[in-house]
């Protein structure tokens, strides 16, 4: 309690669930003395959900995530072609994967695609989101239009772009100065470029929506104060908007990372992992091994590797961004 009583600013939101069960009265009066009543305090006074509330979610998570994950882990030590019972294979699947250049490269490609996705989509959706947060009606209409790609299935979008980018009958055949011979799917760099582009086309609207919501929640008073201090548009954007969107940005980036690492459908339809194995990302490689080559043991091992790598990357993002602390819930921070 000592920290709370001394009133370390900005700590107010970080009360751990356990803290709510005792010593409430003292804390409230201490806080009220220093800061006066705030919305946050009302939340603290209300009864906190007990552990029971988490049971349905935890149950679902156990049945549909933890148990299958355990089974996949077991399967990765078996050799199974889909016929009869799986045969014990020891660590054979794993040693095979460790010496498989395609496997190692697929992990790198997954990370690369994810990074490129974040780098391309974040600035775009940030600018669009802040712009769309404005009050005019035309922005509302445009925001609704931007949102359309997200309503289409990734499969439909991939088929659409495959047709649009056909070298002989699509856009490249008209814009030869830009696309040359149009062999976009025949080189690694351009094939990855197409994947990044299509993902951005589909998902930027979604992240725009996140930023739009967050930008609308930025208190107007901050901008008014800055204006009095003589801050211009750009200054306000960099010194008020962006810091205020910090949590939204972390949320958006984590979603991009998770989505990027498990990208599959666009690769399946646009490149089929090609040219050669140049766009064979881990999720696609897993599909290839399990469902095209009927090697479910290896597929399971790849799936497990992907889970491990994704978890590590997510943890890094969470740590690096301070998302785990969830600070800056008070105005002006």
């Amino acid at each position: 309690m000592a920290a709370t009583l001394t009133g370390e600013p900005g700590r107010g939101g970080a009360v751990a669930p356990g803290d709510g069960s005792h010593g409430k009265g003292g804390k409230r009066s201490a806080r009220q003395r220093r800061f006066g009543p705030s919305r946050r305090d009302v939340g603290d006074r209300a009864s906190r959900p007990g552990f029971l509330w988490a049971v349905p979610g935890a149950l679902f998570f156990t049945v549909f995530a933890v148990v299958p994950l355990g089974l996949v882990a077991v399967l990765s030590f078996y050799s199974w072609g889909g016929l009869g019972s799986p045969q014990w294979a020891g660590t054979a699947n794993w040693t095979k994967l460790l010496h498989d250049p395609v496997m190692l490269r697929s992990l790198w490609l997954s990370v690369l695609l994810t990074l490129l996705g974040v780098v391309v989509q974040t600035p775009l959706s940030l600018l669009l989101g802040v712009w769309a947060a404005g009050p005019q009606r035309n922005r509302a209409v445009l925001s609704a239009i931007y949102f359309v790609p997200l309503l289409l299935s990734a499969t439909a979008i991939s088929v659409l772009w495959r047709a649009l980018l056909d070298p002989n009958f699509g856009i490249p055949s008209q814009l030869t100065w830009l696309f040359g011979n149009g062999n976009l799917f025949g080189h690694q760099n351009t094939a990855i470029g197409v994947l990044v582009w299509v993902a951005a086309w589909q998902y930027t609207p979604f992240h725009t929506l996140i930023y739009q919501g967050a930008a609308r929640a930025v208190p107007e008073v901050l901008y008014q104060a800055a204006e009095i201090d003589g801050a211009g548009r750009v200054r306000k954007f960099f010194h008020i908007t962006i810091p205020q969107l910090r949590n939204a940005m972390v949320t958006s980036v984590i979603l991009m990372v998770v989505g990027g690492l498990t990208t599959f459908d666009t690769v399946l339809i646009l490149t089929q992992g090609g040219p050669g194995t140049d766009t064979t990302i881990t999720a696609y490689y897993m599909y290839q091994q399990a469902f095209k080559s009927f090697d479910f043991g290896t597929g399971a091992a790849i799936a497990l590797l992907l889970v491990v790598v994704s978890t590590i990357i997510s943890l890094i993002v969470v740590r690096a961004s301070g998302y785990d602390k969830m600070r800056s819930v008070n105005e002006g921070l």
Partner: protein, 426 residues
């Protein structure tokens, strides 16, 4: 995706855990499982025909779409396994034969020799594994032919389809000079690229090289004949035969066929289904503008000029544990009946029975079917596509290797070692 796959994996694992393989349909019927597409019309008709006279009834069930092989693989070891099922012969049933699930049909054939003699031998052989017959042909044959756009060839001053490899190279030069892509290739799908390998290997080395390699003699891939085929393929590509963006073209979205149909390309090597694909793009072109011929000969090659590659046919195989072998034997005799042949021809399939020629005049394009039937009948060897002759787990490595070789990512040594890394039938 990772999560959903994990669920799928685990569910099928539990599903397959306890049950022991046995034929599904109890009582007085057996299940016939087929690939779900337009061809079902005939299969339904045949099942109805059979049920009219038989006390043991046949029940038709279909698996739609391209997931057929996956789903079949999942259920064949379980109590839901079909008694009779559609397949591609060769490698597609090899894992089942290995697992001891399929019934050799030799006893049935001994009782009724027509179950074998009514079919063209080059086709029937495809479903023989270890000298035993495991399949009866049941749909249409699909040889790979060298198609062309007649008017494009004419404009480039080419009067007939190339008879030899050198003719082909000359034609490539002429078409290139006219500013069209000499040969349309759906490299994005990879399997169209494989067709060039299949024919060149066959023409240069004869069917033996591949058959030996498939049986386990991996040294075949590094033989002089193999290297010669690879170098000729490189020569063709270097001549600009496929244009510069074939990796971005697909057959499956009609891209390569459209190149041919719209006059942007002169030739395309493709299965006999090219005709119906062209028909869906431009019926007039399919009828009067689409030319077809056999693959050219390679001077000095050991392979017979009349050899074919492609999908020999589809087959019915029978599960060993079925309780209705006698009824099934009777059902299979319908596969060479006149009704069957007529029905198949009416939907554009070309059956491979010996009585087919009598009914060819009833086909949609009699001349085209007559030509194909003649080729298949006279072919000393009909090589099943490599990706179907090998077991399913080799499909991806084969496709990757041919794609990488043609676009220059790996050289001949790289290709040879990729093929030597395949698992084999041996």
């Amino acid at each position: 995706m990772a999560a959903s796959c994990a669920v799928a994996l685990s569910l099928s694992l539990t599903a397959c855990g306890g049950s022991s393989p046995s034929a599904g349909s109890g009582g007085n019927s057996f299940t016939v499982l087929v690939y779900g597409d337009a061809g079902n019309k005939v299969e339904r008709q045949i099942v109805d025909e059979f049920n009219k006279t038989s006390s043991v009834k046949a029940k038709l069930s279909t698996i739609p779409g391209a997931d057929y092989q996956q789903k079949l693989q999942t259920i064949i070891g379980t109590s839901q396994a079909p008694d009779v099922f559609f397949n591609w012969g060769g490698g597609s049933i090899q894992p089942f034969v290995k697992a001891g699930l399929l019934m050799p049909l030799d006893d049935m054939i001994q009782k009724n020799p027509k179950l074998k003699s009514s079919f063209l031998p080059s086709v029937f052989n495809t479903a023989e594994i270890g000298g035993k017959a495991y399949g009866i042909p049941m749909r249409g044959t699909q040889p790979v032919l060298l198609f062309n756009n007649k008017s494009v060839l004419k404009q480039a001053g080419i009067t007939s389809s190339p008879a030899t490899w050198n003719d082909l190279l000359t034609d490539v030069g002429k078409l290139k000079a006219k500013g069209v892509t000499p040969i349309a290739l759906g490299g994005g799908d990879q399997w169209p690229t494989l067709m060039w390998f299949e024919y060149l290997y066959d023409r240069i080395a004869g069917p033996g090289l591949f058959q030996k390699a498939l049986a386990g003699d991996k040294s075949q891939w590094s033989s002089p004949d193999s290297r010669k085929a690879l170098s000729m393929l490189q020569q063709l590509k270097a001549a600009g035969a496929f244009g510069s963006n074939f990796d971005s073209v697909k057959f499956t979205d009609n891209g390569s066929t459209k190149l041919l149909a719209t006059g942007k390309a002169g030739f395309e090597l493709m299965g006999s289904w090219e005709y119906s694909t062209a028909q869906s793009i431009d019926p007039t072109f399919a009828k009067s503008g689409l030319g077809y011929a056999a693959f050219p000969t390679v001077p000095g090659g050991k392979g017979d000029t009349a050899n074919l590659v492609g999908n020999t046919n589809n087959f019915y195989s029978v599960l060993k544990s079925t309780k209705h072998a006698d009824a099934i034997a009777k059902f299979l005799t319908l596969m060479y009946s006149d009704e069957f042949v007529k029905a198949q021809l009416s939907i554009g399939n070309l059956p491979t029975t010996t009585n087919t020629p009598q009914f060819l005049s009833q086909a949609d394009d009699p001349a085209y079917d007559q030509y194909q039937y003649g080729l298949v009948k006279q072919a000393p060897a009909f090589q099943l596509s490599w990706d179907q002759a090998y077991p399913p787990n080799d499909i991806t490595p084969i496709h990757t290797a041919v794609g990488q070789f043609l676009d220059g990512q790996i050289d001949a040594n790289g290709f040879i070692s990729a093929m030597q890394n395949l698992s084999t039938a041996g």
